[in-house]
Symmetry: C2
Subunit: 122 residues, 2 copies
């Protein structure tokens, strides 16, 4: 981009570049920052309800995300065991950890992309 | 990304990578696909109402976008002349055309980025 592009703006204002990336499955948004954070918190807490609470997300919404993920994969990404004396627990599969890792790499590349594009603005 | 990442999915389903990019001004979304298309249609039709109609956008919404753009730039990106016998007209400034061009370059780079990331999925 041309230098001094920022000179279009009123004094003191600054341009930047931002964006988001996600993984699609058959053209539908499948995996982005929300599901990644949810899976990561389920991994850490062993509980869908606890993970949802930490994210300020309803339990219903968290289950919708989990069901949508599980509906597209060969084996469930989140496995839940029935509640008993100590309550049920949820854990994420090795495949889910792989997805989280892949998305992390995509995000890292995207941050580099944004950084390059920002440097072209001024 | 590792090859055969797609093997996580049920048979026949395909992963892809998608996303969006925009230009921010002082941390607020300022310029993205919507404003670009609106400016481009104002340029082509000479009319904010015609541009809005073509996009299935309300006249009010189109004006909100125009006002937000104009509020951040040294000189207005969209200039409107009063209606007369032949109705008023709107035109976009040279600075607006520069912004449209810059965003076009950013989008082109982003498409290349997405294409590279997609090729890593399979």
């Amino acid at each position: 981009m041309e230098k001094n592009f920022g000179s279009l703006l009123k004094k003191g204002r600054k341009f930047s570049v931002n964006g988001s990336v996600w993984i699609e499955c058959d053209g539908q948004r499948f995996f982005g920052p929300g599901p990644v954070e949810l899976l990561d918190r389920i991994r850490a807490t062993g509980s869908i309800s606890q993970a949802a609470r930490e994210m300020g997300m309803s339990y219903k919404k968290a289950w919708e995300i989990v069901n949508r993920l599980n509906a597209n994969t060969k084996s469930p990404l989140v496995q839940t065991s029935p509640g008993g004396k100590n309550g049920g627990g949820s854990m994420i599969s090795a495949e889910a950890m792989l997805l989280v890792k892949q998305y992390g790499e995509l995000r890292a590349h995207f941050r580099e992309f944004l950084s390059r594009e920002r440097s072209k603005l001024y």
